[in-house]
């Protein structure tokens, strides 16, 4: 696998969202990869993703996803959402010590205006016990997308490093 870094954002104080791509997007790739690490939140929150179109987040109710939640302290429930305004990549974490979310995500079809854009994701986090989420999602809009936006469910993200790569053909 050959990764070419296209964009990177590091936060160390409260922000409502982080975007990757837009002016830093390079459409010469078929598949992209995003890795984020050490993401903490200001209140009990999930970590959610939206796709950028012309540099702005698509906030329409066209996101659907399905995933398997993983949980060290009990059974692993399924997780799904249809026609939502975003995709929940990460489980709920709180402000507790060492609670953070990490994940890697593949982006597919983002440059194709005639097809939907898809992602797969794999998250690992801590919320008292270790929690994670592995699954996929889609934005059911035929449009070109040129990046992603990460946000906490209702509050802010306090820390984290977010990196966008293109997978070299």
């Amino acid at each position: 696998m050959s990764l070419v870094k296209l964009d990177e954002e590091t936060i160390s104080s409260a922000v409502s969202s982080v975007s990757l791509g837009a002016s830093d997007w390079n459409s010469n790739y078929n598949v992209y990869k995003v890795i984020y690490s050490n993401v903490s939140v200001s209140a009990s929150n999930t970590i959610d993703i939206q796709f950028l179109a012309n540099g702005s987040a698509n906030t329409s109710t066209n996101y659907s996803m399905a995933a398997k939640n993983l949980y060290s302290g009990g059974t692993d429930p399924n997780n799904s959402a249809v026609d939502n305004t975003d995709i929940g990549i990460g489980n709920t974490i709180t402000t507790g010590s060492n609670q953070q979310s990490n994940a890697h995500i593949y982006l597919f079809n983002f440059n194709n205006a005639n097809e939907y854009s898809f992602i797969t994701f794999e998250e690992t986090a801590l919320n008292a016990d270790v929690v994670g989420r592995q699954g996929g999602g889609v934005l059911k809009v035929s449009e070109a997308n040129n990046g992603v936006l990460f946000k906490a469910g209702t509050g802010n993200m306090n820390s984290g490093k977010f990196t966008l790569y293109g997978l070299k053909k």
Binding site: N38, S72, G73, N102, T124, L126, V130, V131, G132
Partner: protein, 169 residues
């Protein structure tokens, strides 16, 4: 510049364990690991995973993990482990459908101020059926991790281990 860089590999044939020493450094925050375990002995089951620090293999009760199993011949299952002495079910193989191969992402191992997280996916077998496994975990100590140890969870069992480690810039 390539952003996905080979660091080192370690291997052993017909052995109970293999260590990959000094593969983590402050050059990277995130690592990609390939674990290939073949020719397992008659009652080999799970591969056990532990970290290595400056004092040796970490065997404290500080490993939390969870996984979901995707079975070809039976209902999917899951398991969780809290305060374990290893990531005891990293991947699995029985001797009749020999071998298990998988990948993992490891976050923050060398940062002495953070816990070490991972997510993983692998393919193996158990009791007459093939088994895919999706897993996560955390080692809940703020410590500097320098390497990894892979071993048979069942004492006295052996396999051929090949481990490759890459850094993600």
């Amino acid at each position: 510049m390539a952003n996905f860089q080979f660091i080192k590999s370690a291997s052993g044939s017909g052995v109970g364990s293999v260590s990959v020493t000094d593969c983590f450094s402050d050059d990277y925050d995130i690592y990609f690991v390939i674990s290939d375990v073949q020719n397992v002995s008659s009652t080999f089951q799970n591969v056990s995973f532990r970290y290595i620090n400056a004092s040796g293999i970490v065997t404290t009760s500080t490993y939390d993990s969870a996984h979901a199993d995707l079975d070809t011949g039976s209902s999917f299952g899951d398991a969780g482990y809290v305060n374990d002495t290893d990531h005891e079910a990293w991947q699995i193989s029985d001797d009749t459908r020999d071998g298990t191969v998988g990948t993992a992402y490891i976050y923050n191992p060398y940062d002495s101020s953070k816990y070490t997280f991972h997510s993983r996916q692998n393919q193996g077998s158990n009791a007459g059926e093939y088994r895919g496994r999706k897993g996560i975990g955390v080692e809940t100590t703020q410590q500097r991790i320098t390497g990894m140890n892979f071993s048979s969870r069942v004492s006295g069992q052996t396999a051929d281990f090949l481990i490759k480690v890459y850094g993600v810039k």
